[in-house]
Symmetry: C2
Subunit: 138 residues, 2 copies
DNA sequence: CGGTATCCTCGCCGATACTG
DNA sequence: CAGTATCGGCGAGGATACCG
């Protein structure tokens, strides 16, 4: 490529907190992308787009997730500033999870992706059959 | 045979369903979502949005991916009808990968997500710092 | 209720070697 | 050049038990 001072520019970009680059393996954006697109991260973000949920409510909505993974996923999303965790010191304990304004922005994009897949699943299933049929005829 | 009969009825039921549900653990849309949002799937889709790439070209663009994972990722995306694989019987071998029309639709949504993260990485990094300092003050 | 701690397994994934 | 085959680690993630 044209730029010969690649490592220099990268270090500068990190220090100045410039735009990320998901193609750079060491860029923090990779980690954020991994959190957001993780198996449970996607579902949690879309679920919270509906509104505030409690832990157990989320667990029911996101069917199949274990307590551990839900907890880890929420912690990662909270660290990145996408999820707000509000714990009330009552008995029994109550914790509410909701999206931050930034979380709503990213979750909207995730939802658009998820909805496209849901709506176009029939086309995908047809493509899968055509793909396996093609193996026999070739 | 019995197996093809059964899978046929399953595919038929899927087509009749008209829409997937990512919250249903057994719905095929979960698998599609996993392919699309997988570590390398995201990067491959966005890379192919630029245009046709050869195997080695993709490997260079998607820095850090191994031959095996790139191959597996491409096969999964090809099966789902997102990627078109064209092999030419020449020496040395040449294989071109490109997006199908359906692939372009899904890749566009993935790219919007990736770009949002790249552009807003500074905000996220700030949120991370605020999160770690908040632990002490509360 | 809303977690954490611990153990353990499965399969993802990288490394290496080999093929058309 | 564009893969496949095979092995092995190691970490994601489930199961279980326990705590505030």
């Amino acid at each position: 490529m044209a730029e010969s001072e690649r490592s220099g520019r990268l270090a500068m970009a990190m220090k100045e907190q410039q735009r990320g680059d998901v193609y750079a393996p060491e860029c923090p954006s990779r980690g954020v992308l991994d959190h957001v697109t993780s198996r449970w991260g996607v579902l949690v973000l879309v679920a919270l787009l509906e509104g505030t949920h409690r832990f157990s409510s989320l667990r029911r909505k996101v069917a199949g997730v274990s307590e551990k993974m839900l907890s880890q996923t929420l912690q990662a999303l909270e660290q990145d500033g996408f999820v707000l965790r509000e714990a009330y010191p009552v008995i029994p304990p109550r914790v509410d999870y909701s999206l931050t304004p930034m979380g709503r922005e990213v979750a909207t994009r995730v939802e658009e992706l998820a909805e496209w897949i849901e709506e176009n699943l029939p086309r995908i299933m047809v493509a899968r059959e055509q793909h396996s049929t093609r193996r026999r005829s070739s």
